[in-house]
């Protein structure tokens, strides 16, 4: 190990320490800000307790509504991933191996076509969507399903390639199982980790999405945060902290899922 490839412990901790401290400052500042008592200095718990106290439901109705919207959007987006993307990926993996490259390409495209570009073309598409499905906020999930495509694809694909999907499904079929049974009782259980990871990362992406909602004039957590931030920046800071923490926990869980897979 004395080959000079790895940094010494001192070098490692100096780098990680300096970068870590610099990166911690804005988060610490955000936490400190959420306890500030107005602009005068001094600290208070009021902003935090106010969220759970009486009348909070009325005062922050807009914000709670927006959280509800984002949760609904996350659920519908995950449903799109599970119902539209997942079966297609399994089908391509088993039946159309030649289409794998095409599918991968399609799923990576949203990285090159950023949300700010997509939204220009989504505006006319949504004027049609509204006529068919109404103007419910959940319709935004159609666009989010595209936004999460690269992330969800990678999560599922990693799992798909690690297990003998074709062999297992053929074995089940030869034992007389129909396709629904194969999908439900054989494939879903062995793809559980990849599917869960895809779902979690989709939730994180949807909760953080701002661009499309904002420019299509829909209300979700992020657009509401920006609006609330102008009148009550403390509450906006608290919600930002909570959302960041929630996303962090989701991603830790994804990391844990991947680790278990490697160990088993």
């Amino acid at each position: 190990m004395k080959l000079g490839t790895e940094p010494s412990a001192v070098t490692r901790w100096i780098i990680l320490g300096v970068v870590g401290i610099i990166f911690a400052i804005p988060i610490v500042a955000l936490i400190q800000f959420s306890f500030r008592d107005g602009l005068g200095g001094g600290y208070t718990l009021d902003h935090w307790t106010g969220l759970f106290g009486e009348g909070a439901a009325r005062t922050y109705r807009g914000l709670f509504q927006a959280v509800g919207n984002s949760v609904l959007l996350a659920v519908v987006t995950v449903a799109i991933v599970l119902v539209v993307l997942l079966p297609t990926m399994i089908l391509v993996h088993i039946q159309f191996p030649k289409l794998k490259r095409v599918l991968e390409f399609i799923c990576i495209v949203p990285i090159t076509v950023p949300a700010i570009v997509l939204v220009v073309g989504l505006a006319p598409v949504y004027s049609v969507v509204v006529k068919i499905f109404g103007s419910g906020v959940w319709t935004l999930a159609f666009a989010y399903g595209i936004t999460v495509l690269p992330y969800a694809y990678r999560a599922i694909q990693a799992n798909l390639e690690a297990v003998p999907v074709v062999t297992l499904s053929e074995a089940a079929r030869s034992l007389g199982a129909n396709w629904a049974t194969v999908l439900w009782r054989v494939l879903l259980p062995i793809l559980r980790r990849g599917v869960l990871a895809a779902a979690f990362i989709s939730v994180a992406v949807v909760l953080g999405e701002f661009t499309i909602a904002s420019l299509l004039n829909r209300v979700n957590l992020q657009t509401a945060l920006l609006q609330v931030g102008q009148s009550d920046p403390w509450v906006a800071a608290i919600f930002a902290l909570l959302a960041l923490t929630f996303a962090f926990v989701l991603l830790l869980l994804i990391g844990r899922l991947a680790r278990n897979r490697n160990n088993s």
Partner: protein, 304 residues
């Protein structure tokens, strides 16, 4: 057993020799691809096409090159210039700092707590921060921010040159804050892929730490580093949320210019201008991402 054959039938069995039943089964299999295909056409292909072609039309649907020519107007070119400048600076700083962190993480256990926590934090900041990171920086170096107030206490005025946090220069610290984590996520696998045998060969041949890095590691990592740099550039170039949260009006960078073109209700035909801007952006994105994938391909050759 026929069903089994159907299930595992290779793709090339379609042909004149098939029985009608087999052909139906074959068609049915393709039918399974339609939901995804329809979905992607409706919400990815059509919006992308619309975004790119609306720039070529007037409000009434007549063909025009005016919007495209509009990209080359001095003020729009200046916007592209600012976007390039912000993206390049934050990509370079992000790539260097991120690579340093990756280097510091070499030799730690990939599945240990340290790496899991850093990976998760990196993903959060790199991909989901947006508006929230803008808040964090307002709380840090905004008018009443933690650091601003602290520095004011010791006689340094952060805002001596005006409220720069709410202008283009203010994007730099926030963008770097999500570029470094993105670099950690994208560059770590390449560093991880350096083989111990190369270091051993270097040592056997009488090399030292210096020759290992200058003759082996850096040349091997270069394509991946530059590829990641391009990805970071694309990331900053296309990012909108942070900028929109910090800069409430005006169109200092391209995504903000698209915003003003989209939301302005007073000037007719602005939506088509948004199309032209989107086209300009996509051209830049395609070139940069193409470079990225070429360099990634080079890297993956020795990574497996």
């Amino acid at each position: 057993m026929t069903t089994l054959t159907d299930a595992s039938a290779p793709v090339h069995t379609s042909g004149a020799g098939e029985t009608p039943r087999r052909r139906t089964v074959h068609l049915a299999k393709y039918l399974g691809l339609t939901p995804f295909a329809v979905y992607v056409i409706l919400f990815l292909a059509i919006p992308t096409t619309l975004a790119v072609v609306t720039g070529f039309f007037t409000e009434d649907g007549a063909f025009t090159l005016d919007n495209i020519a509009g990209i080359f107007a001095p003020n729009v070119l200046a916007t592209f210039g600012s976007s390039f400048w912000v993206s390049a600076v934050t990509a370079i700083v992000g790539a260097i700092v991120g690579a340093l962190v990756c280097y510091a993480l070499l030799g730690t256990k990939a599945e240990g707590t340290l790496r899991t926590v850093i990976d998760s934090l990196s993903s959060v900041f790199a991909q989901f921060g947006g508006v929230m990171l803008a808040f964090a920086f307002i709380a840090t170096i905004g008018n009443q921010g933690l650091i601003t107030v602290f520095l004011r206490g010791i006689g340094i005025d952060l805002f001596a040159n005006g409220p720069w946090l709410y202008q283009v220069p203010g994007l730099l610290p926030v963008y770097i804050y999500f570029q470094v984590p993105l670099m950690i996520i994208t560059f770590m696998p390449a560093l991880q892929g350096l083989k111990v045998q190369w270091a051993e060969a270097n040592a056997t041949l009488g090399g030292n730490r210096f020759t290992y890095w200058t003759r082996i590691a850096i040349p091997v990592l270069a394509p991946s580093f530059i590829g990641s740099l391009l990805l970071l550039f694309a990331n900053a170039f296309s990012s909108y949320a942070t900028a929109a949260a910090l800069i409430s009006q005006g169109s200092q960078i391209v995504p903000l210019q698209i915003r003003s073109a989209l939301v302005s209700e007073t000037v007719l035909g602005r939506e088509n201008m948004a199309g032209a801007l989107a086209l300009g952006m996509i051209v830049v994105m395609v070139i940069v991402m193409w470079g990225y994938s070429v360099l990634q391909g080079r890297t993956s050759r020795w990574q497996r």
